[in-house]
Symmetry: C2
Subunit: 318 residues, 2 copies
Amino acid sequence: MGKTYNICLDIGGTKVLGAIFDEDGNIVHRLKKKTTSGGNSSENIEELIISVVEEMRQSFGLKKDQLHAISAGAPGVIDSGAGIVLFTPNLPFRDYDIRTPLEERFGVPFHIGNDVNLGVLGEFKYGAARGRKNVVGLFVGTGIGGGLILNGDLFTGTGFKAGECGHIILDPEGPLCGCGQRGCLEAFSSKKGMSAYINQQLSRGRSCMMEGKMANGVFKSKLLKKSLEAGDPVAMEAVDRACHYLAVATGSLINIFSPDMVIYGGGVIEACGGIFMEKILGAVDRYCMTSIRPTVELKQAALGDDSVLYGALALIAN
Amino acid sequence: MGKTYNICLDIGGTKVLGAIFDEDGNIVHRLKKKTTSGGNSSENIEELIISVVEEMRQSFGLKKDQLHAISAGAPGVIDSGAGIVLFTPNLPFRDYDIRTPLEERFGVPFHIGNDVNLGVLGEFKYGAARGRKNVVGLFVGTGIGGGLILNGDLFTGTGFKAGECGHIILDPEGPLCGCGQRGCLEAFSSKKGMSAYINQQLSRGRSCMMEGKMANGVFKSKLLKKSLEAGDPVAMEAVDRACHYLAVATGSLINIFSPDMVIYGGGVIEACGGIFMEKILGAVDRYCMTSIRPTVELKQAALGDDSVLYGALALIAN
């Protein structure tokens, strides 16, 4: 048996997802691991990857010579060509060559890329955007990440920092965003942005069924889903507002890129995509040029939580 | 003597600029021609090109076998690979193959591209953005056009419609734009946008030295320059407002693309670039991510009115 299996990882702030892919691109084994550490040092993320890969190999019974490559998506600014993590939020390491030690450790190629970029790449190669050429991705979670496929390739810009579509400014005097700007898309339409609106309404004495159920002031996507299904008025308002700004940002992105697809993913869309897609689709025509609209399709991501894993797989194939 | 000369054209709504370039890329002969027609039919733009090329050839004394290629920039949606004008404003033709008849007529290659795209390409190949890799161009004139150089190539998107950076939406309930949307960058910061503001102030009884000097309600760039030099308060307000929105749009574009340069051109910048650049540079840090700002430079276009001609030249070389 040849080197036919790939191990792919999605390294988040609170959990790691792992998958073993067979040569046909099917997931044959999975691992999900909470990680409170997230890593306090550069060694920790490396050790985390090593321990997850070893655990998966053993539990699946993968022999050393059956492993073809390892690939990971992680938050931050990553030079995926060189395998260098230039910057990653909440971790104190910069310009760290993570490829060399891991390739030495495992004896196979190691790839790494920005997680949201890989999420869009995954949808492009294996998901809802297959066969397209120019794809803009918006991933709505705690924040809002973006990814750009242009002329069939992932576009990462100068210094691998492109694709921050969550930080399009929609109101220069709007609410403060985590990035330090005001009125970014993320400040309105992410879980943080919607939660801020809901907390504001709660502080005004209004009621919302999310009250007392948010962790660090931010709701979980499933709680949002439940609240929408129950018709909670404040939750509905937050979503209306989020979708309004998503539609405006989408319009601008369509005008800038003339993409053939805009794709929406991330935890919020995975949980509440139907409502979000309906509202965005209903509003976007107001905010994009009539000459461009006919050649762009708006679609929900198809791979759900696995999009980053598939993107990591695509990195191996590239 | 070999085929060493190229004829390049910049076909505008009211005038045509022409230049003969020698093999070193120097302009050795020029022509400027008003054109009230602009062309009422597909034949007219073709005839216009033919007459301008013939006139330049004769006045310069260019022999048939000295001509290497002809290239033109024109407004509209243009498939520059195939030489097909898909759509052009104010002209009633669509999907028109303009290359074939012109190549038959002159016996040399004919190239054509969107004028603003070519303006940015010209700055990238021969002007202020030489040696860069990712360049976003904003050309401020009657409207605001945009152009994108990504990974060293002109990016035209799906259907050759990308780069409408003048139609980023900065205020969804803002002033009506010529494109039918509200609150586009163009509606605030173009000559039309600034003129609308000034006319509004005039209608409120305020005075401005531009009063009575606008054609169709829109000022000329030179008149704006004169008014700014004279310290006209209403003109200054219009420019402050225009530069505020240019800075916000620039911030969003920086966050989206992580370009290494944003370049500002067009008639308004050509006439009043110093003031505009100072104001934009003074404001942009508020509107872009601190992690991206260090690797992007903001610069005024260097080729002035010739940028489209040089872009047309670049199309030949490609």
